[in-house]
């Protein structure tokens, strides 16, 4: 093996193990179940879920040796798609023309690596001017993408079981 080839191989290897970057885009079909909702199926007027996430925000964090560049609007798209699906599944009417509105913004995504990957996501909900902060506390996973999906599912569960959100939904 030539010396140049050997050095190139070592340098590439060093770069690979020293760290890489992830720009994972969460899918739109994340399942939030299981969760327990009170018996409120089908009640309430139609509701609009508005995405108020900053479309240009890309937040950087680290998890172990990987740097994560999280595009917040991609996270909110996945979160809202899952939330709307779960609400519809429980009998709530989702309509883009509804006067009843819940504003949702993903304001922060931070990866952590306490032995496994964990994604800590923060969401701001605004209902008739009242602000509610939601923080996820999902299970860590050996896979960074599974950890992110778990965080989104956890956020959905926390939103639909939030007392203030529920009270507004069934009104």
């Amino acid at each position: 093996m030539g010396r140049i080839k050997a050095v190139t191989l070592l340098v590439s290897f060093a770069v690979v193990i020293a760290g890489c970057t992830s720009t994972y885009k969460p899918p739109l079909d994340i399942h939030a179940a299981p969760y327990v909702l009170p018996n409120i199926s089908g009640s309430g007027d139609p509701v609009r879920i508005a995405d108020t996430t900053d479309p240009n925000a890309i937040v950087t964090s680290r998890g172990g040796s990987i740097t994560f560049n999280s595009n917040l609007s991609q996270y909110s798209a996945a979160l809202i798609a899952s939330l709307e699906r779960e609400l519809a599944k429980n009998g709530f009417k989702i309509s883009q023309d509804a006067s009843k509105e819940i504003d949702i913004a993903v304001i922060d995504v931070e990866m952590a690596f306490p032995k496994k990957f964990r994604c800590d996501m923060n969401v701001r909900i605004v209902i008739e001017g009242k602000v509610i902060g939601i923080a996820t506390d999902s299970e860590p996973n050996h896979s960074d993408s599974k950890a992110i999906n778990a965080s989104i599912a956890d956020a959905v569960r926390r939103i639909i079981s939030n007392e203030e959100v529920l009270t507004y939904l069934i009104r």
Partner: protein
């Protein structure tokens, strides 16, 4: 030829092992429009099972950094009029002795639980620091945040 490959493989293994021992980073973020200033009152929430009382270290360091209205205690005793609650998460590892591998600190609006700022310090065994050092590093990261990200 064979010996060269063996040398390269050995170097790769050593490099991998060393990289595993030497991971260190400090990340922070202050959210847009969020402010952390000395006029606000802060409450560091203690953990029930934290014999090291890291909440007291955080409170002391915050005071040393100019935030004068800082108190600590359990989650169910947040004083009235608290503006910001401070949460922390400490993760420990064993390598000859127990050491703090990860410390996360979050500042949240006490009225609505909204995240205002967060910091994380991560140090593996070879670059370990004391609790005080990790707390200081994490808080400095938050207070000197300039939208640089990592």
């Amino acid at each position: 030829m064979k010996s060269k490959i063996l040398v390269i493989l050995s170097l790769m293994i050593v490099l991998t092992a060393l990289t595993g021992c030497y991971v260190q980073y400090n990340t922070s973020r202050v959210l847009p429009d969020a402010t952390i200033n000395p006029r606000k009152t802060y409450y560091v929430i203690s953990h029930e099972n934290d014999p090291r009382q890291i909440d007291l270290v955080i409170s002391k360091e915050m005071s040393a950094m100019g935030l004068h209205h800082v108190s600590t205690g359990p989650e169910n005793s947040i004083p009235e009029g608290t503006d910001v609650i401070v949460l922390y998460e400490d993760r420990w590892m064993w390598d000859m002795t127990n050491y703090l591998i990860m410390l996360k600190i979050q500042f949240r609006d006490a009225s609505n639980n909204l995240l205002l700022a967060r910091g994380q310090s991560y140090r593996t065994s070879l670059v370990r620091k004391s609790v005080e050092g990790m707390v200081q590093e994490t808080l400095v990261g938050i207070f000197s945040y300039d939208e640089k990200g990592v």
